[in-house]
Symmetry: C2
Subunit: 318 residues, 2 copies
């Protein structure tokens, strides 16, 4: 069944691709089988991560970016990481509903990803879904995350190009987040640029980059752009800079570094997931509960309990 789906997907069958993504998302064993089989067809897509605080208009921006990419005939994939998924199974965001209108375009593939609860589960599912879209023939794959948490950051920073959106006047917290993210962003977008304070935000970002002037001598200095996603202003320029960054990566050979980093992170993620599954298989639920009860009664501490788990499930002595 998987072989047939893969064959159809490689021929451009969108529904087969959708089925494969559902499989990699829901079934670890099938995910392994699928990725093993499609892996040699991957590696061509440009992976663009888009992140930023809630309310910074990422989805609207993405909606317009899809349009710009389609105008050039690119096949576009979108993986939207839904922050609500761990709990609700994925309430659709208003902005995303707007974006969904592209779904009727055969050259656009949009997918919302739901977390599977476990640490790393989301990252693994996202990696695997990217592979399916890559093999399917997407020229560009946008990975959008809402929020600024560690996992979201882990996901976008493995992209080839990272776009960080912000909006004017979000106060202290945002300032700090921006400061932290200068290290992963290739492009800063000050969205809602018609709002008061847009130029000040651009100025602050420029200052922040100036501090690390030395660093940009032999690497890409992040670009700062103003957009008004709602009207589409600045989106064409953003799309051009995204392509420019891609060319920079190819020309300088830095694309290999990016891919290496991504592969490393990916292997780590898969290893964790395999181990978690093995522990689940080797230790009975009641054995685990017995340990937990002992932790609560303070007969054993969490570290010693972890050592017991490792020995029982993997035969590993710490």
């Amino acid at each position: 069944m998987i072989d047939e789906l893969i064959e159809r997907m490689l021929k451009g069958d969108k529904r087969a691709a959708a089925r494969l993504i559902t499989l990699v998302e829901n079934d670890d064993e099938k995910a392994a089988e699928i990725v093993k089989k499609i892996y040699r067809h991957t590696g061509k897509a440009h992976i663009v991560g888009i992140t930023g605080p809630p309310g910074s208009g990422k989805s609207t921006l993405l909606d317009k970016l899809i349009k710009a990419a389609r105008a050039e005939g690119k096949i576009v994939g979108v993986i939207a990481i839904d922050p609500t998924s761990p709990f609700t199974g994925g309430a659709l965001l208003g902005d995303r509903i707007r974006m969904q209108r592209h779904s009727t375009d055969p050259g656009v593939f949009i997918r919302s990803m739901a977390t599977r609860g476990s640490l790393g589960g989301l990252a693994k599912a996202t990696n695997d879904a990217i592979k399916v879209l890559d093999a399917y023939g997407c020229d560009v794959i946008f990975v959008e995350t809402v929020g600024v948490g560690q996992i979201e950051v882990d996901i976008v920073r493995t992209a080839d190009t990272v776009v960080l959106t912000t909006v004017p006047g979000l106060g202290d917290d945002i300032q700090a987040i921006k400061a932290g993210l200068t290290e992963i962003a290739d492009i800063f977008v000050v969205n809602k640029a018609d709002k008061e304070g847009a130029d000040a935000t651009v100025f602050e970002l420029e200052l922040m980059l100036d501090i690390e002037k030395e660093k940009w001598k032999d690497s890409w200095r992040p670009k700062i752009l103003k957009t008004i996603a709602m009207t589409g202003r600045g989106v064409k320029e953003l799309w051009e800079v995204i392509r420019e960054h891609r060319e920079y990566l190819l020309k300088t050979g830095k694309i290999a570094e990016k891919k290496k980093f991504r592969a490393e992170e990916e292997v780590k993620t898969i290893v964790s997931s395999m181990i978690a599954k093995r522990i689940g298989r080797k230790m009975q639920e009641d054995e685990l509960m017995f340990l937990i009860d002992k932790i609560l009664s303070r007969e054993i501490d969490p570290y010693s309990a972890a050592e017991v788990v490792l020995e029982k499930s993997l035969g590993v002595k710490v």
Copy 2:
């Protein structure tokens, strides 16, 4: 050295507690030793998680909550998870600087946590730091996270009491996040309640809770409070509701469920960390790089590479 530090910490030496937290944060082996030794002194503190989107005024609220708790003579611990830490090593947020004034109070212990890059590293360090503060004698430990990412959520949802802050009028993204977080929040705080739309936000939250009416029949129905953290309005009520929730947990015995859940998450986190370290020990850096190169040249796929890592480092066959 550790034994001496622990002895001093248990006698109420704040600097010894600070040293111990630094150790659990930076050294996995010392973390294990310390937690094993102090574990029996823990279990008394009320752990209160505070989360919410950036800009919702968590730190200011916390500043005022500390005051309220101190007015009752409680020993207060604060662990502030800094979103910028993975990259910058922890730029101080403006609001947090304000909070730091409590540091001169011997009954208040404030600590910013930095991520150690790895998935789960932050959660583990936070757990361990909570234990130190608990053993030190804190009556209440606030764990504050900025952002709404998976890791942040994982951290706060292991708290006894979870406070979710929001502000009026943050748009679609926030709505969805709120919806997702109803499942973990015990108390909703609509901060900046003097802003337009505060009552509408409260109303929406009430509606959201009403949908799950059945659920609240035999469990705590999340409380919704309005605050203006800057002026302190509503903070006393918030502090009372926090204590009320604690009493509810104790009276109904639900505290045991919370503690069980926390212990489980904790063991999982420690197991992952131990395995990551073992892999680092057993596989040479160049062996790993060799595999990564093969992934890039598409001679091997990431899943097969992960299987090699598991076998070489843990002797585990998948």
